[in-house]
């Protein structure tokens, strides 16, 4: 990498010395840059502002070429106390972590491998007593997954298992966990091969933190942690949009048959601008002459599809005016049944 140095000489006339490392780089990449014939050129600090300007341009373009300053870990700047940070991390959430276990939760596999490599390079044969966070991550993930499913089944008792899975997958998706991990302060604590750490590292570390909490305290504390950090991400999100039903009309038929109601009948309620490229049709689904659900749509088939979904929402008690999720202190003492599963769509069709 080319480095720029400004040398202040002791003589009265000040010179700016440009060091040029590889001419090839300049020629290939930046054709607009002015090339200097010699590798060292003493450019007099002239009073001519035009020359000074072109000198500044040269500096600027070279710096751009080199790229931005590499992001460094705070420990390289001098102000970093890993133990204190680990302790503060736990205290921030009001949790009493076992510091040893929590430290383990931040160690990545790539970091351990890197350390082993370093030892080999140095020629030492010491065994490294560092465990990575994979096991803790698995523990944490399994607990979070189990708890979230149980919580969702408690909150949405009539929703099908496929819907529960869809919401669960959304909450524990990589993007969501990365987003949470970023805003919790994992970045500096993570010990990985690269800094800043990669996206999957945050995901693993967050799961490992939950695992560390299980080991330090108990499962109940870890479940409260999940309840306070991961589940509130559902607030403000339309839960119905997370699960995509493949055949809403078929599902609606099955649901109505089960409840011994009449077959669903779709009727066109209103329609406007039918012959234009932006039509609007309102379709309502009736059963025994009673309106189950209605919806607008771009075409009649789309409107029918959406109306069937609306009807299913009503039947499953997933409408917008349902009671809100139990969160915060109220939800700390819920009696969740971990063994219960909601019924699946396939069960409905068979019956």
């Amino acid at each position: 990498m080319a480095a720029l140095q400004c040398v202040r000489s002791l003589s009265k006339v000040r010179y700016n010395v440009l060091h040029k490392f590889s001419a090839a780089v300049m020629v290939v990449e930046n054709k607009s840059v002015r090339r200097y014939s010699t590798s060292h050129q003493l450019v007099g600090k002239s009073s001519n502002s035009r020359q000074h300007l072109s000198y500044l341009y040269e500096l600027y373009h070279r710096r751009i070429e080199v790229g931005p300053e590499k992001e460094r870990h705070p420990s390289e700047y001098g102000c970093w106390n890993h133990d204190a940070e680990i302790y503060a991390f736990g205290q921030r959430f009001g949790e009493d972590f076992n510091d040893m276990v929590l430290k383990e939760a931040f160690v990545q596999r790539c970091f351990v491998e890197q350390e082993i490599e370093k030892q080999k390079d140095l020629g030492l044969d010491m065994e490294i007593d560092m465990t990575d966070n994979e096991i803790l991550a698995e523990k944490g993930y399994s607990l979070a997954s189990r708890f979230i499913k149980a919580y969702l089944r408690y909150s949405f008792p009539q929703l099908f298992e496929e819907g529960i899975s869809a919401i669960h997958d959304f909450l524990l998706s990589d993007e969501m966990l990365f987003h949470i991990g970023c805003n919790i302060g994992l970045k500096e604590l993570i010990q990985s091969a690269t800094y800043p750490p990669e996206h999957p590292t945050y995901v693993t570390t967050l799961k490992a933190v939950i695992g560390a909490l299980i080991e330090s305290q108990n499962e109940k504390k870890a479940e409260d942690f999940v309840l306070d950090l991961i589940i509130p991400q559902l607030v403000g999100i339309d839960v119905s949009e997370l699960w995509n039903i493949e055949n809403p009309m078929g599902l609606l038929c099955a649901l109505l048959k089960e409840q011994n109601l009449g077959e669903p009948e779709a009727r066109l309620l209103w329609s406007s601008a039918s012959n234009t490229i932006m039509p609007l049709h309102h379709v309502g689904i009736y059963s025994d002459k009673k309106l189950l659900g209605k919806s607008p749509g771009e075409t009649i088939s789309i409107a029918e599809d959406m109306a069937a979904r609306e009807a299913i929402k009503k039947l499953l008690n997933m409408t917008d005016n349902r009671s809100p999720l139990e969160l915060g202190d109220k939800a700390k003492n819920l009696e969740l049944d971990f063994n219960k599963t909601n019924r699946s769509v396939s069960e409905l069709n068979c019956s």
């Binding site: 102000c79 204190a84 205290q91 921030r92 607030v235 403000g236 999100i237 209103w270």
Partner: protein
């Protein structure tokens, strides 16, 4: 730190938001670490030194979740650097500030979320602005519109708030006829 796509000649502004829905579950103090860099001898850092002697330990005891770093630097003015969980950093120059003012600043930094201070376009935010549902052109319309022919006179004729003379006469006739 601000995620905005604005023109370069625009004063940045943002909407109110609560990243990570802080407070709905447990409230997490967003201040991650504080670095106080001060000079051990210069008179400009005297209030900062007082703060270190008297208030710093109390602050750290009350806030175990905030890491407090002391950075003695010769011949430099005292600076308080706050780092937040979302990566935002803020530095406050403590020259010419008293010990009490340093305490106030620290209290302010602790209470803030890591969002950059920008003009708020709205003082409120909601993901569900509509409670009864969004209006649509057919919200209060009868379905007879789709059944009746659009040229049906009953749909377009003028409905007067007053009774016409003809109607009054016919009514009178009906009444007298009935009686």
């Amino acid at each position: 730190m601000l995620n905005v796509n604005m023109g370069s000649n625009v004063i940045p502004s943002t909407f109110l938001r609560n990243v990570m829905k802080n407070g709905i579950g447990r409230h997490v103090c967003q201040l991650q670490r504080v670095t106080l860099s001060l000079c051990k001898w210069s008179p400009g850092s005297a209030p900062a030194r007082e703060f270190v002697e008297q208030d710093m330990v109390d602050f750290t005891r009350q806030n175990p979740g905030i890491v407090f770093y002391l950075k003695p630097r010769r011949h430099r003015s005292p600076v308080l650097k706050a780092e937040y969980l979302n990566g935002y950093t803020e530095e406050i120059d403590l020259t010419k500030l008293s010990r009490e003012e340093i305490n106030h600043w620290l209290g302010l930094l602790k209470g803030r979320s890591g969002q950059q201070i920008v003009r708020l376009r709205k003082d409120f935010h909601t993901d569900t602005p509509s409670i009864q549902g969004v209006w649509n052109p057919f919200l209060f319309k009868d379905t007879e519109l789709s059944i009746k022919d659009v040229r049906d006179p009953s749909l377009s004729e003028y409905i007067s708030p007053f009774k016409s003379a003809t109607e009054k006469l016919l009514e009178l006739k009906k009444k007298s006829g009935a009686s």
